[in-house]
């Protein structure tokens, strides 16, 4: 349950970007959340909705894109995608997969309103 702490960091980035862009309002925020990032999207949404009150993003909608796990086998080199955590290669069964995607926690983009 460290979602509130993550949302605090998210707002630091969001508010800095909004200032750079001279935005009047942030109306939508898109995050990419890896399947193995240790974050629960529902809790992130609750934390976001609590935190946004009184900020430039007070009416913003949060969109969470889940990034599936992308792994590469260190033995045979096979790459595969998975929705659930996997620990062995689907092709040669070797353990110790290199995780290429699925751990990220990225503020991908946001929708802003500004004066013409």
């Amino acid at each position: 349950m460290h979602e509130l702490s993550l949302v605090t960091s998210l707002f630091e980035i969001l508010e800095a970007k909004a200032r750079d862009e001279k935005a009047l309002r942030v109306t939508a925020v898109t995050l990419r959340v890896g399947r193995l990032s240790g974050v629960v999207p529902e809790l992130l949404e609750t934390a976001f909705d609590t935190f946004k009150k009184g900020t430039i993003a007070s009416r913003a909608k949060l969109r969470v894109e889940i990034v599936p796990l992308k792994v590469r086998c260190r033995s045979c080199g096979k790459e595969s995608l998975a929705d659930e955590p996997v620990f062995a290669c689907s092709s040669c069964a070797s353990p110790g997969l290199e995780i290429m995607e699925g751990q990220e926690l990225t503020l991908q983009r946001m929708e802003i309103e500004k004066d013409d």
Binding site: H2, K17, R109
Partner: protein, 223 residues
């Protein structure tokens, strides 16, 4: 009014990672090996440190940063062994962050060999936060059960060392250390694994030797 979409592409943990990298570099320059200890509450992190303090006494200098939600209790236990300790009370937060460690670091003496950072007892959230450590230890005590690695993969995936603690209780429990090892190694084959009882001293020399060797590697620039 113009409405448009802007790309940001920023890592939400980016600030924490940056602070952690600074801490790691600072400690490395001073030749201090830092270890982040993670586990559930009650797995034996503080007891492991007390036992190491006894083994290192008069040979190596160690200090401890304790993370807890409330109370100075753990820091007091460490100080009772003659080891300098700083308590970070997070007041509710379930993990330590690099900036919390950074604040305490200014008070930590520079002439140390080992700096242990005992994280808040929690097998989930601490895994996401780099504290600038050289090594990450995850502890799993026998009463917790041998099925935990796959239930909490991030902690095992991000660690260098697994310490199976409370080994003296294994004869009384349905805990299979071989099964715990197997699961953990399936997640992370590069884990070094130790089975210890801080109470009886079983396996403690092995951990102490591992830490001393890691310290030598750090100082010779290979870590």
């Amino acid at each position: 009014m113009e409405k448009r979409e802007v790309l940001v592409l920023k890592d939400i943990l980016g600030t924490n990672k940056k602070i952690a990298a600074g801490i790691r570099e600072k400690l490395r320059t001073k030749g201090i090996l830092s270890v982040n200890l993670m586990s559930s509450p009650g797995s034996g992190k503080t007891t492991l440190l007390e036992s190491l303090a006894e083994r290192f006494q008069g040979r190596f200098r160690m200090a401890v940063i304790e993370g807890d939600i409330e109370t100075e209790r753990d820091a007091e236990r460490i100080r009772a062994k003659g080891i300098p300790a700083w308590q970070i009370t997070t007041g509710g937060a379930c993990h330590l962050e690099a900036k919390m460690v950074g604040k305490v670091l200014a008070e930590v003496p520079a002439d140390l060999d080992f700096l242990f950072i005992e994280n808040v007892g929690n097998l989930v959230c601490p895994a996401s936060y780099d504290l600038g450590e050289s090594l990450r230890f995850v502890l799993l005590s026998s009463p917790e059960g041998d099925d935990k690695p796959k239930k909490y993969p991030a902690a095992f995936l991000s660690s260098n060392v697994l310490v199976l603690t409370k080994a003296d209780l294994i004869p009384h429990l349905p805990f299979d250390p071989a099964q715990a090892r197997r699961e953990a190694l399936e997640i992370n084959p590069r884990l070094d694994i130790f089975e210890v009882s801080a109470l009886t001293g079983q396996g403690m020399d092995g951990i102490a030797a591992f830490l001393i060797s890691a310290l030598k590697k750090l100082r010779s620039g290979y870590a």
